[in-house]
Symmetry: C2
Subunit: 524 residues, 2 copies
């Protein structure tokens, strides 16, 4: 702590004129300060320093970091990322999706009025003259804008790209300010619940293939929620705000949610208790059938429509062989304003992996970090969003799902780390090497032959590298083969092909080398 205190003092004195900006007094003197708090204050100070454009000694000094809430991906992380993307893309393509791309920023007004309270998390660009722009917050709103702009009324598309939210980052748990979303959406007027069921089939396939452990896909419907609110006596104008409170049920126990409803949102205790009964229910098609008979619930036309659709959905899910993981859960209430029908969310249920903790275990803790559970995919039906962009409000029904990939990366990275798994970051099949001096030209000639034949090959960028260092490079990078050239080999018209793992060496006629390398690496 002394070291920390010292460095604080130095930073504080260097920033004397700006003391008013920061509450440094309690920081420098108080006891009982946590490391997390110190880290946070250091980050703030470094930010301030960055804005001042220099260090305390007057000499310009870079703050060598990425922006808050963002990260670089190193080659190992990229190799894992590529694997995950390939699995996801393969699944999207298997289901016949096309792909589109949209700009990373949109006109500010395109995003306005789509995200409710979360709008405060949107990154705006500086007004440098011209249009007012914001970074995209998700891929759904740009998709809707794209459909309306191009008057597209049906498409099945996927879109894998980064989105931006000025949220509180929790990076060890895979919560970033810049993060990838992998979206799959089906737009078009189709027979009920078939596309909706396919979205769930896709989530099931992807989470199974990624082998992230057991998972559940919770399903509900906005119309059931609204109908439930109506029959429980929630006033119409409180539907949205009560819905937001229900949405906290995956983070907070019922008693706290109930408290918020009654104390903060002014709901009657009676209404809250009735809601409480419903949101504790979960099941399958049978639950939907039971609720259709429920004397209170059946009074709501909306709820009945939703419940009938849930029944239909489950019948398709049976055909798709995914009912083992899907739960009809009345407590699911996704936050976004634009959903109009079915909603769903997938959670990992194995607490074995560090960043994924079950809500119930952490619920009493209540801090924002500990309650971020294993939600790794979510989505639903949004039949009104495209119409918001159409001058004549022409609607295009849509349903889609978004895979939250960063949390999956975190899990995969930690696993690779834990298993001390050797992740290859290149695909090089062969290193062209030499044991003797003055053979650079011969090495370059041979590697050119290999490149021209489509073989992934490297040479060391040295005139006279040692054989040992060339072999070490192979070990390090996981290169399976070495093609060794020497005076004798050149004379005999052969290349010595060495298998790195077994140290086996064999002379291959130069004319057969390409075929031989391809043969030996074809299963790699």
């Amino acid at each position: 702590m002394t070291m920390l205190a010292l460095s604080f003092a130095r930073v504080c004195s260097g920033l004397a004129p700006f003391r008013t900006v920061l509450r440094l007094q309690p920081l420098c003197s108080a006891s009982g300060i946590t490391v997390a708090q110190i880290d946070e204050e250091v980050a703030k100070l470094l930010e301030l320093k960055a804005r001042l454009g220099g260090g305390d000694d007057g000499k310009h000094q870079f703050v060598l970091k990425t922006p808050k809430g963002t990260r670089d991906y190193n080659p190992k992380q990229m190799a894992i990322r590529e694997r995950v993307f390939n699995t996801i893309t393969r699944c999207f393509k298997r289901h016949g999706a096309e792909t589109i791309d949209t700009p990373v920023f949109e006109l500010k007004e395109t995003l306005t009025g789509k995200y409710g309270e979360d709008s405060k998390l949107i990154y705006d660009l500086k007004d440098q003259g011209g249009e007012l722009l914001s970074l995209r917050y998700d891929l759904t709103v740009p998709f809707a804008r794209y459909l309306a702009m191009n008057k597209i009324t049906n498409i099945k598309r996927y879109h894998i790209a980064k989105v931006y939210r000025r949220d509180n980052p929790a990076m060890t748990r895979g919560r970033y300010r810049e993060f990838y979303q992998c979206d799959f959406d089906i737009a078009g007027q189709y027979d009920a619940m078939i596309p909706d069921a396919e979205c769930l089939k896709i989530v099931h396939e992807i989470l199974s293939e990624l082998e992230l452990g057991d998972f559940r896909i919770k399903v509900n419907d906005r119309r059931i929620l609204d109908g439930m609110f109506a029959v429980c006596g929630v006033p119409d104008d409180k539907f949205r705000t009560i819905c937001s409170t229900v949405d906290k049920l995956d983070k907070l126990p019922w008693q706290e949610v109930r408290k918020e409803m009654v104390d903060e949102k002014g709901l009657s205790e009676e209404a809250a208790d009735q809601i409480g009964e419903y949101v504790s229910l979960h099941g399958g098609m049978d639950l939907a059938e039971r609720l259709l008979q429920d004397p209170r619930m059946s009074q709501s036309k909306q709820a009945c429509a939703g419940l009938s659709d849930i029944k239909l959905l489950f019948s398709y899910l049976q055909l798709f062989q995914v009912t083992d993981k899907v739960v009809f859960d009345l407590s699911l209430a996704r936050g976004l304003d634009y959903y109009t029908g079915v909603i769903y969310e997938a959670v990992l249920t194995q607490a074995g992996v560090a960043p994924v903790a079950l809500a119930s275990n952490d619920a009493q803790n209540g801090s924002e970090e500990s309650v971020s559970v294993g939600s790794v995919a979510g989505g639903g039906r949004y039949d009104g969003l495209v119409g918001m962009f159409d001058p004549k409000n022409r609607k295009v029904p849509c349903v889609g799902v978004s895979i939250g990939i960063e949390r999956i990366f975190s899990i995969m990275e930690q696993r690779a780390e834990a298993a001390a798994e050797k992740v290859r970051t290149t695909e090089v099949q062969v290193l062209v090497a030499s044991a003797q001096k003055n053979l650079l030209e011969e090495r370059l000639r041979l590697v050119t032959e290999l490149w021209n034949a489509g073989i992934k090959a490297e040479v060391m960028y040295k005139k006279n590298p040692k054989l040992l260092s060339q072999l070490q490079l192979c070990e390090e990078m996981g290169i399976p083969l070495v093609a060794i050239l020497g005076e004798q080999e050149l004379k005999d018209g052969v290349v010595k092909l060495r298998v790195v793992v077994s140290r086996e060496e064999v002379d291959v006629p130069r004319s057969d080398l390409i075929t031989e390398i391809k043969r030996r690496t074809s299963d790699a």
Copy 2:
């Protein structure tokens, strides 16, 4: 024109309080106004409208567009983009590169002082509290920041990502404000010119594989340029600015460049003429040898070092079999400040494709659009950039190349258009269809079997689609096979497999279907 005038009048009246912002008077009354000018003014007005957040009638009305200088990619364009990326990525991987990713924005100060005059084109983010951020301008500076931050002294990496420049867009020619760069860089202390030569080999491979027509790769060296300036009598403090003027030689004829040197930059006529002699030279290794003997040039140690390296470079390029396209060209002077050695730029030399016009043809025109020639790749050596991020200024020598992909996309898209080429946007192998009613469940059951076996398959999202509309969907999307189910087929335990192109139909036992589909689509 009447229509236009009318709509102008309406917009003008709607914006009366803001008239001072725009110079509307000349616009509304003047004659001889061009369509381009009108378009520009309309864009300005729409921008203003967007900022006011509403239309003239008070009702909120969206401006349904992407931000200036940006575009969406539709599925066809994405299919082309994917093909180009695959070719490029395959080449980078063949040469043993790893890949990394960095955030789309950096701390503003990370970009400060790296781009000279072009810094004004950087997009800043709005100060919403916290750090000051800017969108990345290229991938090179973030790469250097990454190396310094992680203390990496050698790596061969590629990075394919979007970069941002508030430049004047010329979108039909592939010049955007948001555009992709495909960068390949080699960092590390190696024997001279080997990595540099590999970068040129890579450009050669990529441009050849993409079949964009003939191309040239111009090569020069910053040290040769500086040496040349010194021996021609350019004062030291004018090197950079004279270099910028020389850089315009691909857009302007020598006489205009000379004029700028003398009239604007205050260079003596004698010095300008001496430069003029040198910059008209181009050749191969022979030219480098000749210049090493040149009585004036040989006085500069710097120039001699550069010329010797060019010789060495060409000797490696011969081994790499790429000298057919590489020209040592003394007029090449790339704008960026950070280059320290070899520089290069690839240009397409076939004027056959619309957006690529040769500079010489357009030079007298002088408008910014017409002079943007076919430069599709560029790069060079930058040994000092990483050191700028290191507190102790430890240098990491780097050389790299950036493929300017948007122009390549433009060419490919126009070609696909011109050839009326059928670009498939999905990879679906088979549509599960039915000729009869009430078979939705059977179709869903079969498509599930196919998906679970990894077959790319679709069904129409209708309970009872017509067979004709199912076959039309196949035609439209290029789906090669249809698996048709009917009562009879279900009874017989077969599926009728139809080849869309030939209309051939064959009954396949259900148990053999997956194998049969895989067999028939394995070469697809």
